[in-house]
Structure formats: C-alpha cells, structure tokens
Symmetry: C2
Subunit: 521 residues, 2 copies
Amino acid sequence: MEGNDDSDIIEHHVEEDMEKKEPRSHAASSSFLDSVAPSDRDAHSGTQSSHRLLAYSDALISIIATVMILPVAHTKMEDTEELRESVQLLLTTKIAVYLMTFLIVTVAWAAHIRLFQVIVRIDDCLALLNLACMMLITFLPYTFSLMATFPENVLGILLFCGCVMVIGVIQSLIVVYAFSRPFLLNQQIQISENRTFYKHHILKVIMRVPLMCFIASVFSFIFFQLSYALLAIVIFLPYISQFLKWCRDKIIGPVEESPDSVLFYTYLPNEPLSKDRVEAFSDGVYAIVATLLILDICEDNVPDPSVVQKQFGGSLTAALQVYGPEYLAYFGSFVTVGLLWFVHHSLFLHVTKATRFMGLLNTFSLAFVGGLPLAYQLTHEFPQNSHNELEAIQISCVIIFFASIFQLAIWVVALYSEQESLHPYVRYGGQEHVFMLAKLSLYPCVALGTFFLTCILSKFSAPIFHLMEITVPFAFLVLRLLVRVVLALLRLIFCPDRPVLRSIIEQEDEEVRGTLNALLS
Amino acid sequence: MEGNDDSDIIEHHVEEDMEKKEPRSHAASSSFLDSVAPSDRDAHSGTQSSHRLLAYSDALISIIATVMILPVAHTKMEDTEELRESVQLLLTTKIAVYLMTFLIVTVAWAAHIRLFQVIVRIDDCLALLNLACMMLITFLPYTFSLMATFPENVLGILLFCGCVMVIGVIQSLIVVYAFSRPFLLNQQIQISENRTFYKHHILKVIMRVPLMCFIASVFSFIFFQLSYALLAIVIFLPYISQFLKWCRDKIIGPVEESPDSVLFYTYLPNEPLSKDRVEAFSDGVYAIVATLLILDICEDNVPDPSVVQKQFGGSLTAALQVYGPEYLAYFGSFVTVGLLWFVHHSLFLHVTKATRFMGLLNTFSLAFVGGLPLAYQLTHEFPQNSHNELEAIQISCVIIFFASIFQLAIWVVALYSEQESLHPYVRYGGQEHVFMLAKLSLYPCVALGTFFLTCILSKFSAPIFHLMEITVPFAFLVLRLLVRVVLALLRLIFCPDRPVLRSIIEQEDEEVRGTLNALLS
C-alpha cells in the first residue's frame, strides 16, 4: 500500500514535470478528451503548467505576510525609557497587528493552495485572473492595519470586507471558468462522473467567506462590534467547522464519508497540502526575514560625507563604528534565520506528504521567525550590562525557542503518521532518525540553555549570547560526528561489550580528516 | 539531433526530480561508484537534491539585487523644485548605484549558477558553506554604496574587495569539497576521465576574481584610481574575455575545441544557463518590485488617530484621500509589473534552453522593471497638467519601453537559434508564433504610442496615461482574439479568396461567447 503510494506521487510528479517542459505532451494523457467538442480541444493548445504561476504567487504572498513586521522593526527605541514599557506598548498594538496579518494572509494562501490543487493547468485567462486576485491579497494587510488603528471607524471594516468579497468573487470566477474547460482540472476530478457536484461543493465553500463578509459589512453600520465577531469567525472558520464536526462525531457517532469524496475542501487536519508550495512559501518568508536588516542598513547606514567630515574629522572608520551594533545584529539574525531555514530544509527533505495541520504549525514557526531580526536588533542596541540588554537577549532566546520548537512539532506530527508522511529511513529506528532529531532539537536546547544561563549569570549575558551565536553554526557542521560520538558513548555505557562501535567512530573520524586534507591541499 | 536533445533534457530533469522525491534512488544510477572506497559510499547517504537550496539562494539574491532601489524610491521630491533637476541629481548618484549594484549582484548570481551546474547534489556541509557565501553576497550592495559615497576613501574598496575575496575562497572550498566526493557532481563530469582537469580549470576561473580583488586592494593604498579600473575589469571579465577570444579567432582563426570539453565556465554567450534558476530569480525580482509600493503604504500611510481628529475633524475618508496618489501609483505599478511578469512567463514557457546572452538581456529587462514603481510614484505625485507630471509620465513610458523591449530581444535571440532554444510550435510559422510576438510587442508599442501622444497632446497627458493603464490588462485578456482578427483582416486584404478564415474567427468568437455564458450562469 505504502510503496504504491510513493510511486504514485513520483509518477504524478514526473508527468507534471514533463508537461512543464513540453506543454503539449499532456494531450496524450488526456485522450479521453477526444470526445469533447472540437472547440474545447482547440483551446487546449493555450494551456500551461501552473508551476511558475504558483511560485510567483507564493513569492508575493510571503512578502505580504511579513510586511507588517516593518512598522514594528522601525519603531525607534529610546535608551532612556525602559524596554519593558516600550515592548509592552509594541506587544499590544504593532506585534498583534503583525501576527494577525500573518494569520490572515496565510489563510488566504491556504485557500489559494486548495484552489490550485483542484486546478492543475492554467491558460492566459486564468493567469490574469490570478494576478488580479494577488493584487487584492497584497492590499489586505493595509486594510487590516487601518481597521486596527481605527477600530470604531466603519471605513476599515468596509475596505477589508470589500477586498475579501472581491477575492471571493474572482476565485469563484476562476472555478467556474476552470470547470467549463475540464482539461484544466485535477485528473481525479476530470475523470470523475459527478464533476458538477464538486463544482457546487467548491463554490459553496469559497462563497461562504464573501457572504459572511457581506453580512459583516452590513452590520458595521448597525452594530460594528458584531462585524468583528463575524470577521473572526471567517478567519477561524476552518478550525471552527473542524471542531463542530468533531463534536458531532462524538455525539452522534462518525458519519460515513462517501467513498468517492476527494480530500479537497474538507478542512480536515490531514487534508493534503501541496508540499512544493509550503516549501516555496517558507523559502520566501525566510529570504525576506534574513535580508530585513540589510535592507535597512543599505538605506540608512551609509553616512553622509558632510557629516563624516564635520563630526568624525573625515574618518570613515570612526563614522562606521557607530553602526557596529547594526552590523552585528545583521550577521546574528542572518546566521540564525539561515540555520533555521537549513533545519526546515532538512525536515522537508524527509517529509513526503504535508497536511493542513503541519502547514499550520509551519505558519506559527514562520511567524516567530519574522520577529527574529527585531529581537536581534534590540539585543545589540542597548549599552552593555543594562537591564534592557538582558531582557532583549532573553526575548531573542524565547523567539528562537518557539520558532524551532514548532519545527520540532512538525516532525512529531509527521512521526505520528510516519507510514504516510515520512521516508522509511527516518522513521523510528531508521538510519537517519536520531540525526534528524538532533538537528531539530539543537536550537530549542541551545535557546533554552542560553535563557536559563542568562537568568543565573545575568552579568555575563552578552558574552553568553555571542558565544551561542558563534558556536551554533559550527555545531551544525559537526553535528553528524557529534551524534555518532554521543550514540557510541551511550551504547558504551549501557552495553560495553560491543567493540564494533569504536570502529564506526574511527571510520567517521578518518572521513572527516580526509575531507580536511582535501580542503587544505 | 534536435529531438534527441529535447528528450535528453527531459530525461535528465525527470531523473533529478525523482531524486528530489526519493533522495536514495540515485544510488541505482551511480552504480559505478561501487568501486569507490567504502567510506565514500557511506557518506553518500547524506546527499540531497540541490533544488531547494538553489531556490532559496535565488530568492535571497533577487531581494539583494533590487535593494538599492529603496534609497532612490525614498528620496522625497519637493513640489517646488523642478523634477528635471532632482531627477538629474538622482541619475548621477542613486540610480547609478542601483544599476551598478544590480549588475554586480547578477554577476555574482551568474557565478553561483555556473558553480551549481557542475555540482548537482549537496550535503549538509555544502548547504552551510553556501549559506555563508549568501551572507557575503547580501553584504555586497552595502560595501558598494559605501564605495560610491566615499570614492576617495580606501575603506570602501577594501570592504568590497574583502567580501569578493571571501566569496571566492568559499566557492573554491565548495569546488574542492565537491570534487573530493564525486557523487555530488554533474553526471557528465562524474563519468569523465579527466576530472582533475575540470577541477583545475574551474578553480582557475573562480580564483581569478579574488586574485584581481587582492591586487586592487593592494593598489588602493598606492594609487586608488587603478583599483577602480581593476574592479571594473573584474565585473566585465566575462565580456572582456569573450571579446578577446573573438579578436583572437578573427586574427589567428578559430581554435579547435577539444571534443571532450564541457560547456561550463567558458564565458561563451551560448553557454547554457539553468532555465529554472533564471525563472526563479526573475520571479523574485518581479515579486519584490510589485510589492515595493505596498510595503511603503503599509508602513507610512496609516494615519495617526490624533492627526485625523485634529486636521480632518475625525473623518478617516478625508484623511485617506490625501494618500490617493499613493494608491493609484500602487495599483498602476502592480498591474504593469504583473503583466510584464505574465509576458516573461509566456516567453519562458516557450524557451527550452536559456543561454548566457539571454540571461544578460533578462538582467537588463529586470533592472528597468526595478525602476517602474519609482516612475509610477512620480507620475501620480505632481499636480495635474504641471510640467513635472508630463516628464514623470514620459519617464514611465521610457522605462516600460526598455523593460519590454529587452524581453522582445530575448525572443529574437531565441529565434536566431530556434532549433535549439524554442518549442517547435512557436518557431517561424509555428501555430503560436504570431500570438507570442503580439504578446511581446504589446507593451513596447503601447509605451511608444503613449510617449508620442503625450508629446503631441501634452495637455491630456494624464488622461492618456490612465487610459493606457486601464486598457492594457483588457488588451491582454482579448489578445488571442485580436490577433486572429488582425491576421484574418490581413489575409482578407492580401488574398481575399479564402473563405476558410472567416470560419476561424467565428469559431473563436463562439468559444469566447461560450466562456462568457459559463461565467455568467
């Protein structure tokens, strides 16, 4: 069963890819379409693989998801005021706006994924409709921040609802258009007999959101608190409907699903989520976040020649030393984000199927990653040994901890259904299992360790933090070796009469030495 | 020959993809490795497809390439001063910095592509080395802008050279490491007998750049003008070496290439460039540029509640009307960038093989695309019918023209070697040829038309420009129909005795009507 599954995925992928290279070759695979009206077959020639359209959409959405971190990052901290107060001020407004925007945009993104799991090929018309949809999605963060800044004003609600409604209408148009040209659809639905049923089911799910937004915008004139409640329901709709279903199942007993039903638009936590798109979206977020600080540095930290002449006696080195903390923050955050990406990359190499629930955990992880540059900037901004510095360092540790613990959670979820979602050699007892676990738990452990160390040795918090920044990349480099050594030690302690293990360590050691020699020569 | 080529590419791709899904399956394809030392085979288990690493690198590099447009975009224009002056001021400094940075980063990106066309699989160590390399590349724009702001200061040159040297050293490390584990290499080099020759050739090419930077940094202490000349040579090295080769061939006659030589690291304009990576990089740039204005809007254009209360009597609508031009600029630039992406997407669907020269033209096109949001912002910022507005509109037209004409140039270059680089059905006389040409020439024609119209009817320049913004998306939607009508008209004029054509139009017409009906029902 499981071997079958695997080869299916590969075959499907290979087919998709060949189509990407040769947009025409799909004609062979859809020979049943010969029975369709000739005008349909003719229009067929304009279809393309949706691969690149989705990659571009993912890039756009990942930028938009992280955009609201900019107002947070650009809030100037004054040395005189206490960090605690300013952070509390931020927490209540800008950070909340950032997190909510992130959630809203990822909900829109999840809907987009679901839509394009049904529609697997596109033509020019769909591409243009999708671009229009993207434009409205990129406008969502702005309408939401208007809503958050002016909670009692109707305009914010109206703009937000308007955007969501237009997005819903465009998506319905896309569905209707695609079902009128069945060769654009998923193979499974294309050959299904009750295609009309699917069409209506999908339209019903899509139109639910704009409908509720319409009601919310009507209520905004009468009793605007109610519209906020409605909008909250819209955003958490998948989870609410999921919860209701669970309750119903508990009370009445599980309802049998019709065997023909496809796992689309179900809101079940094990509904498949395109792994490629989760990767592309995550890559986008990691890339934006990693470069967030250098964007500011390039724009703001090139000193003015006249200022250098006046204030620093023409010494550029002295002028640049003022920006020292910014450079440090940049390097620290780039390295941390880069390594978190590296762990994410290793994780998704071993995951064969992503589900909605894993996507949700990934979203949480990414939301914390987005806050990292800000935390690092704070860390390097305050005078040494101040109370502010200690708190900034501890906040950084907490953010790193949560960003990495959610990655670990994805792994745990994948282990729960390891038959379906993991490669055989990383399952329990698999060859790579321990190594993967070590990779995933390195950052949570280090962050937790640093946090408690700074609590105890609060005087040395900055050196401890810097030491952590420097050692972690090297720890990743020699992790494979470390894991083997630890495993060998463990086995040596518990079953000391196995000399085979020593040879493994030596062999690995030799290999490393060989590589070092190759690098040095 | 050509059919052979095609299937080769597909096979290769398919194989790569299967490996992506199942990192282990490559073991079968490299059975000759069984003769290699067992420690090598053991380490084998840690290898992965490089696909996602490269996608992440592309995302990072595309952000960095466009970052220097931010200082240009954030230069505040004062209504009182003449646009001509301020634009000239910009042209001399910030725009030059932006264009040069774009060029420098794309040169680094091209080197990165070339490197990872040789190394097709990665392991953890290579992934981490690559991240280190990325961090230094992201720092390049800043060192360059320091160099541009303080041209007579040694520090800028030293920092820039230092970055380039470290990048060169890391890339050499990557090459040495990869050649010490041959299963990471390109199949072609992996099975080649003179692998050592390739290694030395590649190292020689890579080390040339850091070496010249080292000389430049030494000269910066003695005679800094010379170091600029040396750095210019470094950036234009590929084109210079290409030109020298061409001269030598003209004088001595062409040198016969050894039949075994692979088309890597040759600097020939027809050296293949990974099409996937050109697409990924372009997607990144288009996505950043499309969202550039909304980033600013989200950050700056949420009015302060107290200001709204004081200045606008609590009317949020009135407060937001002040930002009207910003919204218009955002929609205009998003639509234009989105449609240029759409044209690029259609173009690369039909291109089967990208070359260095096409990559260069693509770079030029993208550099102009980067300036679009700025131009649109200017267009909507000035009072109606002012001289400034007219100039801003004309500058926008010029930028659109150049961005789209370079796309057309890619198509023309692809047509020159159509046997190798185009799908059969878009070659001369191919089914889709005219349609593709129409798509590519729509924007240059419209931009040129708008430019001359605004010259003649300078009073109506703003309405003409707005009309252009609105009609172009619809023109793209009905382009297929338009092309058929024009073709039919042309044939009707030149050979009026062919009634078959009328039926084509009618058929197409019917199809469109059918779709409209489906959408309306």
